[in-house]
């Protein structure tokens, strides 16, 4: 049986490759905030309090562009609502925890951490302390995110823009799902989501981020019914 610290460590190792995109993205986020004219402490506060890359950038861009607080907050809420789906999946592995521990661990639910935890825990259903894996991925991503936004705030965007490192973001997520391309039903759901996102891209409040998954999950539901 694996000890708690071993499971935690496995979680850390699983998300390390994603740092290739998380760290540059964090630096860019910090640098953009300062460039937009926000107080550095305020920029950092978004990393600590909101803790969600894309939503932080949109939030600061909207406010600096003169949008109302309501619009900025709504956009953050819409973009981050995808965590509801992550929580619904991960709750299978977290349901035995006390309420306080659930409240604590929830703060660390992030895209890449969710994806790696889901992948590993699904294949190791009998693991005794699965939440340590979730925590290992989440805490690692949290530290790297905090440190990289701070360095972006202090040093500015020292990553040359010509490198086009923004492209690392779709690549990280591609790396997450590429293995599921072996399963046709998953490929179908991916294509529905992908094309939906292209069509819905201009929907208000960046809502394509949650609308496309909803469309894709409805398609999955219909597919499952037809298969039976």
């Amino acid at each position: 049986m694996l000890s708690k610290s071993k499971i935690f460590f496995k979680g850390i190792v699983a998300v390390l490759p994603h740092m290739l995109s998380v760290i540059p993205f964090g630096i860019i986020t910090g640098a953009i905030g300062v460039e937009l004219g926000f107080n550095p402490i305020l920029v950092y506060a978004t990393s600590l309090i909101i803790f969600g890359g894309a939503s932080q950038i949109i939030f600061m861009q909207l406010l600096s562009g003169g949008a109302s607080s309501l619009v900025a907050i709504t956009s953050v809420g819409v973009i981050n609502s995808r965590h509801l789906l992550y929580g619904a999946v991960l709750s299978e592995y977290l349901e035995k925890l006390s309420f306080i521990k659930k409240l604590f661990i929830s703060y660390f639910i992030v895209d890449q951490g969710f994806a790696e935890s889901n992948k590993y825990l699904r294949q190791n259903k009998n693991l005794s302390n699965p939440h340590y894996y979730v925590l290992g991925t989440g805490v690692t991503l949290w530290f790297c995110w905090q440190l990289s936004t701070i360095s972006g705030i202090i040093l500015g965007s020292f990553i040359p823009e010509e490198l086009g490192l923004k492209f690392a973001i779709p690549l990280t997520f591609l790396a997450i799902i590429v293995n599921d391309l072996r399963k046709l039903d998953h490929v179908f759901v991916m294509l529905v989501s992908g094309f939906a996102s292209l069509i819905l891209f201009d929907a208000p409040f960046k809502s394509y981020i949650i609308l496309s998954p909803i469309v894709a999950l409805i398609a999955a539901f219909i597919m499952l019914r037809l298969k039976k």
Binding site: P17, I73, G77, N80, A88, S197, L198, I209
Partner: protein, 105 residues
Amino acid sequence: MTWLSIIISGIVTYFSRMAMVALIDREMLGTKVKEVLNYVPAAVFPAIIFPGVFFNDFGLLVEITDPKIYGAIVALVVGFYSKSVIATIVSGLLSYWFIIFFLLR
């Protein structure tokens, strides 16, 4: 005012992380819902990948010759066979850089 917006955004975001974990009992989800939840990664991540590859910074569709498309194809093939996260990201970035720094100059 900005501080208040950050705090409210933080609460909203935290709620989205916490609600399904701490407030919802798993018994409440039917077997059908649980089955559909298997597809969450397949449903969420393409909605981040597709716009990142097929749209430019101004939200316009890129041309079929865009380096990002070829970088993504290389990453896809390498990832599919290697099953390695790091190989997927690195191969995608390297092929993308090869195109923009060598082929397009």
